[in-house]
């Protein structure tokens, strides 16, 4: 081919063409009964790829995470950390406590392809909106129950979240420096987000199966188990009888490896996995003799603790006498893994991520400009996209109840009076921004107009 490969790819993934392309899950309907992060993240991955996701919340209370911002700092009366978990969803407020509310939720479930919930195990069954009741009205349903300890086993009713899953799975005990009393968790509720992604993956397996056979199913998605699935420690202990333990910032599967400080105080990670990479490092360090040393001959030798320490000392000395700019330049040609430790501001302003679309600047009619994470994986024909940021509780009540369930304005007014259906309390996290004129919002006041979407 004559054309340059990167030009071809730049065209295949052109960000300016995203809106014109198809969506992989167009027409798929998801009922999102979940709250906090684990469930909402799973539903969000599907929403980003075109599924129509209806998020149901308790009127005037809503998802607790609406108000749980970092450091108690809000943005335009919303939690800025909530938008990237729940963008592109429809927000309805229905109270399951009332029989009529339960019926409305079941009616939405009847029209859905997928239901996602993450209450304490068994709660949705007790409420009458669980798998067995949904299956009775919609046998093809894919029903995903997400929880910390799973839907079976002696701990199944035990409540939990990210921190408990990280502690119970072995993640925390594996992170930190040996011989210290500090065990670090992976921050930012990673134990919710990563299992949430995993849940979306399992749901996609079920959806592909249903597409072939017409059969729905029930999914017991357990967040602690998903974290365990990602540790090689169990396998290691089962065959060696030993533990890996904590290794600070060194990777015990690569040598040399670690996070090192440069002469000007920046931090760079370096990690040598293969012989080829080790040879490349030797050339850069002007230490080709290392490759002839039998202690460092192959990966397995280099990873032995005493040999790894020796190599790490060499790298540490080199880094301490090298500047960050020198390393940034070296990365283009060095042929071994060398990367800068990046912080929040570097990531949010990184031109590469902007050009790639993994960090996007989104302009929303209600909240205006927000910088947020884009898709984690880029698709050439069906790229994911942000359609709108989050909305106050019950913002889409009229739109969804009228278009999906055929309710009239009178029906809705009656349900509102009975508090079966409702919206937000005038609190941060729940209400619209103060500058926003909700009375003139056509979607919020949806009356059946055809030009509203």
């Amino acid at each position: 081919m004559n054309n340059d490969y990167f030009s071809y790819m730049a065209d295949a993934f052109d960000r300016t063409k995203v809106e014109k392309k198809s969506e992989a899950l167009k027409g798929i309907r998801v009922l999102d009964l979940s709250h906090m992060i684990f469930g909402p993240k799973a539903a969000n991955v599907l929403a980003e790829h075109g599924a129509e996701v209806i998020k149901v919340e308790v009127p005037y209370q809503g998802d607790y995470w609406r108000s749980a911002t970092y450091w108690g700092k809000y943005w335009k009366h919303s939690n800025p950390m909530w938008h990237f978990i729940n963008h592109s969803k429809y927000f309805v407020g229905i109270d399951v406590k009332y029989p009529r509310g339960k019926d409305l939720i079941l009616k939405l479930a009847e029209q859905s392809d997928i239901v996602i919930e993450n209450f304490a195990s068994g709660t949705v069954e007790a409420w009458g909106i669980g798998y067995t009741q949904t299956r009775a009205v919609n046998p093809k349903i894919i029903y995903a129950s997400l929880s910390t300890f799973g839907q079976s086993g002696p701990f199944r009713f035990f409540p939990g979240w990210d921190l408990l899953a990280q502690g119970a799975s072995g993640v925390i005990s594996s992170t930190g420096y040996p011989d210290t009393e500090h065990y670090f968790k992976v921050p930012d509720f990673y134990g919710d987000f990563y299992p949430g992604f995993f849940a979306a993956m399992l749901i996609m397996m079920a959806l592909n199966y249903r597409e072939k056979t017409g059969e729905g199913q029930y999914l017991d998605i357990c967040q602690a188990e998903i974290l365990m699935r990602s540790l090689f420690h169990f396998t290691y202990s089962s065959v060696t009888g030993e533990e890996i333990g904590r290794t600070g910032n060194q990777d015990p599967t690569a040598s040399p490896s670690g996070i090192f400080k440069t002469s000007d105080g920046a931090f760079f990670a370096l990690s040598i996995g293969t012989d080829e990479q080790f040879a490349a490092l030797g050339r850069v360090l002007n230490r080709e003799d290392l490759m002839k040393d039998s202690r460092f001959a192959g990966s397995l030798d280099r990873c032995k603790p005493e040999n790894a320490s020796e190599l790490n000392r060499i790298v540490s000395d080199w880094m301490a006498s090298t500047s960050a700019d020198e390393l940034r330049e070296l990365r283009k040609s060095c042929r071994f893994p060398l990367g800068e430790v990046q912080d929040d501001v570097q990531i949010s302003t990184d031109p590469w991520r902007k050009e790639r679309g993994s960090v996007v600047e989104f302009d929303d009619p209600m909240y205006q400009k927000l910088v947020m994470a884009g898709s984690a994986a880029m698709m050439s024909e069906t790229p994911g996209r942000v359609k709108w940021l989050t909305r106050p509780i019950g913002y889409h009540n009229r739109y969804i109840l009228k278009t999906r369930l055929g309710l009239s304005e009178e029906d809705i007014l009656k349900l509102e009076k009975e508090q079966v259906v409702g919206g937000w309390d005038y609190r941060v996290g729940q209400r619209p921004p103060v500058y926003y004129n909700i009375e003139e919002d056509k979607l919020f006041n949806y009356g059946g107009e055809s030009d509203v979407e």
């Binding site: 990167f6 071809y8 790819m9 730049a10 993934f13 790829h49 970092y70 108690g72 943005w75 950390m81 304490a120 069954e125 007790a126 798998y131 009741q133 839907q151 408990l164 502690g167 119970a168 799975s169 072995g170 925390i172 005990s173 992170t175 065990y183 670090f184 930012d188 990673y190 993956m201 397996m205 592909n208 597409e211 017991d220 998605i221 540790l231 396998t235 089962s238 890996i244 910032n249 599967t253 293969t274 080829e276 397995l300 283009k332 040609s333 893994p337 990367g339 800068e340 430790v341 990046q342 929040d344 990531i347 949010s348 790639r356 947020m372 994470a373 898709s375 984690a376 994986a377 024909e381």
Partner: protein, 444 residues
Amino acid sequence: MSSKEKVYSRHMQNKQAAKRISEWSKVISEIMSPQGKPEALSDTVVLDLSYANFTGTIASSLLAEAGAFVIRIEPPDGDPSRLMTPYGKTVEGTGIPYLMESRNKHNVILDIQNEEDKKKFIALVKKADMLIETFEPGLMDRLGIGYRQLKEINPSLIYLAITPYGQYTRQAKEMASQPWSDLTSQAESGMAGLIGGLPDDPEPYNWPTRAGFYTAGYTSAVSAVCSSLMALFFKGRTGQGQMIDVATADSYSSCVGFPPTVGYIWKKPRPRYGTLDYGLCPYGFFKCKDGYVAIACFRDQDFRAALRILGLWHIEEDWKTLLDRITDDIERAKTLNREIEKAVANMTFNEIFTKFQAFCLKAARSKWRGGGLPVTTRMLRPMEVMEVEHWKVRNTFFKVDDPSCGGLKLPVTGKMSKTPLRVKKVSARIGEDTDFIFEKFGIR
């Protein structure tokens, strides 16, 4: 529901609820065994060319556990990730992380740089639904078997490429020769910079720190598989294939989403927070008499409950609301944490657990919603996790029968009622299935 089981919700304590839960429990008990059940992806053929990049190997494992027919293609010398293993320990020459991800795959040797083998490879591509590769961007294209050439041969092919910076953008081109590693991906995607001791801790404990497992590798692999399955669904409806591009330097920031938004809203990077938390306080593991125990208070009522149980009610006045506790004043957060540390240090795990549990059960019976749910658990080391009865009941750890694997155990998850994920075999012998595969697909 057995009568011994404790429930932590008042909604589950009436007769009607008990009846519904017992019907649902029947569904649950049927999920426990995969025997004789169909597999979700049983007619999907995947070619995995991953090389020195665990992300691709993990991705093909997840697909294989769901029943995809995975052909693991390696050059004659094998994939170097076979030898990336903790402290250099192997099982008969194969590294442990690699062996753990050698689930249900067929191992084939093909040298794609050799013309003869390339023809065989192209014949396989014609039969494949999905291809995974992790070479430097443009390498497959130069060999004449990149996405743009293969899509002419098989227009419905889903081509998944996994590299540090992806296949487009100026940086992807400039940095094309940078190889993958889990540690550099953790660092560049914003995770390592957030893990580690507080700013005033001694060096190097306050330096950026690695999460103790392949977090970047697994995170990127799951997003890759998730998108591939969306592409498979789209292909099923339209017949159209596509290219999927994963950049591992995005793994953490794209998964949790905090770094870009925090950086934009506050214009300053977060410091490393030790065992504190940016969003909640207290939210961590604290040292008790006989181990480490989770104290995680989210709502005000959960916090007040914890204070009562830990004998700390006298400090309630200073920490009344959530906003008092999620302060960006690190000294204040440390103060509250120290109070919890002191109280917890005098108790055993069982004392704390019993009291917390009793409180939760009592609150669950109450109609008053402000009771609080102070939940806790013990921090376990992986070896201890394997001994927990709960995971034994759930069959979370699969034991491989093959005597050459020496009692190898693997964690498995994905309990789906119709098509559960499962491990059928674990085998990593280089090229062991080469003849079988070529015969099966009629390739000479």
